[in-house]
Amino acid sequence: MAKLRTLYDKIWDDHVVDVQPDGSCLLYIDRHLVHEVTSPQAFEGLRMAGRKVRAPEKTLLVVDHNVPTTAEARSHVVDPESKAQIAQLAQNASDFGLEYYDAFDKRQGIVHIIGPEQGFTLPGTTIVCGDSHTSTHGAFGALAHGIGTSEVEHVLATQTLLQSKAKNMRVTVNGKLPAGVTAKDIIMAIIGQIGTAGGTGHVIEFAGEAIRDLSMEGRMTVCNMTIEGGARAGLIAPDEKTFAYLKDRPKAPKGAAWDEAVRYWKTLHSDEGAHFDTEITLDAASLPPIVTWGTSPEDVASIEGVVPRVDDARNDQQKAKIQRALDYMGLKGGEKIADLKVDRVFIGSCTNGRIEDLRAAAKVIEGKKVAAHVNAMVVPGSGLVKDQAEAEGLDKIFVAAGFEWREPGCSMCLAMNPDKLAPGERCASTSNRNFEGRQGFKGRTHLVSPAMAAAAAIAGQFVDIRKWS
């Protein structure tokens, strides 16, 4: 009998070019996404060694991290370094003959949003990008993870990566989500449970009824934040929803090739009884809307909960960690989460910048006004998401409520462009990291779902979306 294999095992086996004596493998890479921040030094390395890009047709370039999100600023990037980095990506695309979406291309957007939109992301493929949120693409049953710039250069030159196989972890989320609780809450609850290093050395497959019930957008949200739980890659087995999402996308196979591909994709699931090194189970029905209180994505609390106190710590190391986070966040410990007031609201990012996220937020705010002391912005994940939202009239709902409606990009998820928090500002953010300084020097980030962020903008503080009317 053939060995029972996990989904990860199957994709891995299909891409092994060579096995080294120590067991590490040279793995073939099917798709390479490239953005302006982590690629200049890689292309420079190729130039210095006189090397070419091995498979230009498997490489797609887009500008996202640096681009300003107002139409005016986009046309005249003032930051000289941002401007140089954007220009360098265009130059590299031209020098090496690579497809490139510039800031004025309708298909431009956050690299992890445009891959699926274009059908560049496909089940069973290996996908890399010099960006840790490459895990997003695992929602399609693709083995996708972030790499450093040296590895970007390695993939450009050889279309392969040297990899040691990770362990298999499965997170099963049983049951149905309560109203108001979303994919974002699922993944934050998982990170809260396993910790930010819980998935280190593993690939996590997400399974169970609550995962199957998620839309592709929701599945991308879950896989996106897998890296915040320490695992470089997340995976969800492809199903009819996956195929329906991909059919007729520009880069997806067509005609007979589509049928052949779907036949193969249907084999991409973990075999019944396949071995997982670690198994975690959650009950969806018991999950609340979640808000992070500290400076690590594992610092999660229920909207009904309180900020932890230093005295809650189990040991000295944890005490120091809580104290540091409380000091940074301007909290004492013991505050009710629902009493925390916000100054800023950010809706967007590769975690929650897709159409479904904007619909969820718009539904919450329709006919209401952003609180007087709050500055709120929506940054669609791509030009196509923006167009779709405008076709549905969502932009009008946001603008009428007092939100700023911006151009697509990474924006205030990491604040490399002009969108950033001022020191001390408290932000309800749909992004993925609440690290110190992430959204601006001394800025304070609370991670939440789009509906929770939208409600916080209106109320001026966190509120339980389950009680929203």
Partner: protein, 200 residues
């Protein structure tokens, strides 16, 4: 890439858990198109005050640690983003070895691409090394990659883990792309089969 064989130097204690790559090198330094010069931004939000002057309380600003070549940190060092600017910044500052109980996967890989040794030790040994490091400039550590040992100022020795291939590449300063290109024929024959699939 420079070889890593043995290193004797001052070790700076950084008793923080989950040191993330945003902390190691904040985003404003990611706009460079060069690999060098990032040492100026290493830990900048902790190292400098808002007005740009040095924060005297940060370990690398203390006279004893200004020339540190080793960092000793708590669990899960290097979590967060994939930015290789993090190891570039460490290297540019002069740090060649980071000692912790655990490292985030992407950062860990990135170290080996740059001749930096991420040394994994047990929680008990980390505590010992953190104590050693806290004693300042008179307390240097010696890291011996071949023997996978770290020797403290009192002569105590702790072992660290590293995969054989990673060790080999560090010891010899090997360039990964060069190693892979030797296998070009294997890549070509893989592609000849693989690329016939509709989904490839």
């Amino acid at each position: 890439m420079d070889k890593f064989t043995t290193l004797t130097g001052v070790a700076a204690p950084l008793p923080i858990t989950n040191v993330d790559t945003d902390m190691i090198i904040p985003k404003q330094y990611l706009k460079t198109i060069a690999r060098t010069g990032l040492g100026a931004g290493l830990f900048s939000e902790m190292r400098f005050k808002e007005d740009g002057s040095e924060n005297p309380h940060f370990v690398l600003n203390k006279p004893a640690y200004r020339k540190a070549t080793i960092l000793v940190a708590e669990d899960n060092f290097g979590c967060g983003s994939s930015r290789e600017h993090a190891p570039w910044a460490l290297l540019d500052y002069g740090i060649r070895c980071v000692i912790s109980t655990s490292f985030a996967d992407i950062f860990y890989n990135n170290c080996f691409q740059n001749g930096i040794l991420p040394a994994k030790v047990s929680p008990e040994d980390l505590k010992k090394l953190m104590d050693d490091a806290s004693r300042g400039a008179n307390a240097t550590l010696t890291v011996d990659l071949e023997r996978q040992e770290i020797k403290g100022p009192d002569g105590g020795v702790v072992k660290f883990e590293i995969a054989e291939f990673n060790k080999h590449c560090l010891l010899n300063g090997l360039d990964a792309i060069g190693l892979t290109l030797v296998k070009s024929d294997k890549i070509k024959s893989f592609e000849d089969k693989h690329n016939t699939h509709a989904w490839a």
